[in-house]
């Protein structure tokens, strides 16, 4: 088994563990490369099937190509897709001009909470990775959120030997993170090896490409000439720039992501 085989086996194990332990479970699909790889792993874990619904939190500010791609793939894969929008916040005029962190909280964190409450999900599967940024590096594979979706990262029980915390008090919910140990390069090598379809936005056009996808007003492409997966991998091997450098909300203050995630952000 090589490095990618080991990562794949671990993620599949975690997906099956989550599916076996929780009956009300769904997966968050952001259309980005990570959660699309995760979707591929779901189909591997369940032998061509996706036995739970996917959720897309639509802020209505997403890059338009993302929505087109989402609808195309959902049809192709015959996915049970729940699209959720925080209509209430939008009606009251929520948008990035109100402040990036405020907007993220309302249109993403709060929207996520609404969909969890509506469908009474006990567990959500997310494609976050430890190497993305500091607060995500402290995550567990199975991570408890209280009734308000808050994360107490100072008080997490240990995860020993593939034994995850699967017993939880009523009312709380669990975030499951099968991709925690993957790096950005692993993701691209795996996309190449498995020939997984990904959205075009990741490939350079006119000297720029997106390294991380999000809402149009807050996500910026980075300088790049990488037009193929091989070129992306080569670029990543030599870069010293952060993956989320193009995500404006991270740069709001030194601890922006940590604050957002403590409140329940993905």
């Amino acid at each position: 088994m090589d490095h990618l085989d080991r990562l794949e086996a671990e993620s599949i194990y975690i997906l099956r563990e989550a599916y076996s332990k929780f009956s009300k479970i769904a997966m968050l699909w952001s259309i980005g490369k990570d959660s699309t790889v995760l979707l591929w792993l779901v189909k591997k874990a369940f032998f061509g099937h996706c036995p739970f619904p996917l959720i897309h939190i639509d802020t209505t500010y997403k890059i338009p190509e993302m929505i087109k791609y989402r609808d195309k793939l959902a049809k192709e894969y015959n996915l049970d897709l729940i699209v959720h929008i925080n209509e209430e916040a939008l009606k009251q005029g929520m948008g990035p001009e109100k402040g990036r962190l405020v907007c993220c909280k309302a249109l993403k964190t709060d929207a996520l909470q609404q969909v969890i409450n509506k469908h009474k999900f006990e567990a959500l599967i997310l494609g976050i990775r430890r190497d993305e940024e500091g607060s995500r590096s402290k995550e567990r594979f199975f991570s408890l959120r209280n009734e308000e979706s808050e994360w107490d990262y100072t008080n997490q029980p240990p995860e020993l030997w593939n034994q995850f915390n699967t017993d939880f008090p009523k009312g709380s919910h669990v975030r499951v993170h099968p991709l925690l140990n993957w790096t950005e390069i692993d993701i691209w090598m795996y996309i190449k090896r498995e020939n997984i379809p990904v959205i075009d936005l990741y490939f350079a056009k006119n000297g720029k490409r997106y390294r991380s996808l999000g809402c149009a007003p807050c996500t910026f492409p980075v300088e790049s000439n990488a037009t193929t997966i091989d070129e992306i991998i080569e670029e990543l091997k030599n870069t010293k720039i952060n993956e989320r450098a193009g995500r404006a909300q991270d740069q709001e203050d030194a601890y922006a992501m940590q604050k957002l995630r403590k409140e329940g952000y993905m």
């Binding site: 088994m1 090589d2 490095h3 990618l4 085989d5 080991r6 794949e8 086996a9 671990e10 599949i12 194990y13 099956r16 563990e17 599916y19 076996s20 189909k43 591997k44 874990a45 369940f46 032998f47 061509g48 099937h49 036995p51 430890r130 190497d131 940024e133 500091g134 607060s135 590096s137 402290k138 990262y153 100072t154 997490q156 029980p157 240990p158 995860e159 020993l160 030997w161 593939n162 034994q163 995850f164 915390n165 017993d167 939880f168 140990n181 090598m189 190449k192 090896r193 091989d230 991998i233 080569e234 091997k237 870069t239 010293k240 720039i241 952060n242 450098a245 030194a254 601890y255 940590q258």
Partner: protein
Amino acid sequence: MGIMTARELLKIVVVGHVDHGKSTIIGRLLYDTKSVPEAAIERVKRICKEKGRPFEYAYLLDALEEEQKQGITIDTTQIKFSTQQRDYLIIDAPGHKEFLKNMISGAANAEAALLVIDAAEGVQEQSKRHAYILSLLGIQKVYVIVNKMDMIDFSEEKFKEIKYEISNFLDRLNVYPLKYIPVSAFLGENITKKSEKMPWYKGESLLEALDLFEKDKELEDKPLRFPIQDVYKFDHRRIIAGKIESGRLKVGDEIKILPEGKVSRIKSIESWPENNKKDMVEAGMSVGVTIEDEFFNKRGEIIVHRDDNTLYISDTFKANLFWLGKRNLVRNKTYKLKLVTQETECEIVSIDKVIDATTLETVENATEVRTNDVAEVTIKTKEKICFDEFKVNPTTGRFVLVDEYDVSGGGIVSGLANLKEEAAKFVKDDNEMVVSCFDEYYYSIPQGIIRKYPKHNRTFKVGDAVPIEGETYSYPESFDIIDLNSKLVAKIRKGRLSDLVNIEQYTYSELPIITADGFYVKVNSIDEFKDFKNELVQLEKKDNFLLTTFANKWYDISKNRSFKFTV
């Protein structure tokens, strides 16, 4: 295509007392191997500036606000770096006392360890505790990093002194470091290249030494352990899914599903997409199979090869465990035990020894195990479960205990427990004799060891038939069984237990005598029996050396016993 070649990955854990410099060492390794994005360095510099503090390598790891406030690491972080030879995943463990569980979480997945010790302070409380946990987790590949050599003027003498102190202590834990490496992480001495400040040191720099850790022999060479994780019926196929914990499995293999022991054959190995199809799978893979007979299978059962008799099935075993729970671990309380995909309720029936991980003092007959203590316990599960001894197969030899909602402790199986009330035994009136002469012996070819499996754990009363023929033993219809522990002799006549007498009242009956273990005693006359009994009486003192000499003289191993080969 260079990009796609698989590089070897070694997981290492860095442990040691708070402030002995773990984070600085890691920060330095990352910085010197250019493994941190410039943006992260810039960000740390910016934060340091905002807070009016000088830049430190340790801050590269401490991305979270609270950590920098307290100057300690909160949780296990995982960071990668690479040398020419391979990739490394560093699991950074915190030194602060209350965060021990994170260290264990990290260390449990590590293949090798660096134990960081401050050259000026020497072995401290957490150095001891962490070293103990390394030994408990079975991590054998350990380097001791003697940090802050600048504080002792890079002195060879002082390095030797501290090395002596450390090795003295580690010896008691059965931890034998492969190397002692003097460094100054803060100044970057002896990290990536040999230090000019320590010409007396002839060994490798830290980075060079890391490349010398050898990876373990892989699990695929051990007997098959395939715990069922789930059974899917999404379409016409009934797929048994799970991770192969050890060994290999291929289409057509004859298998046995434990604990019940139903036998079948592997029909297919399923995969998606179709072009992923494999005929053989091995340890570490998450797979799905179909079998020829559609039994009712469920999560928690373990698939082994049909001729494999080496997996234990029992509801009692001995274990070493560390306890991290919010409440103390106590006897006679119900906990949940998880071992691979098996889950069952369990109780601690005895706390045989509690070890204070700081002083390594042992407390016998303790009534509870406190948070952060390490203990030797006997566990009884509600239902029988399948397991191996940890040293024989680590993946099926370790477990966690859940207290209420939280995984609160982890342990490794040290062996079967022979609880008196569960062993095979003869009773008459107040006399009781525990026997293992009906146990079976199997020689495992891949492991090269003989293991004993109890088959008839029940009580025999006078008049009861006893199993005189087994797979790996055969006794005559009438013989006597002598037990050195209880000093009793059982008389078996025509295949039944006929009497149980004290050795003092026993007279040699001219029938074969075997020991309670099933070994033939070389006694053929009254005189020989007298000699035997005289020597036996002198064995009282429980001297193992004398006992061995005695056994080698009097016992014939092969007369009634043999062993069978197994995987």
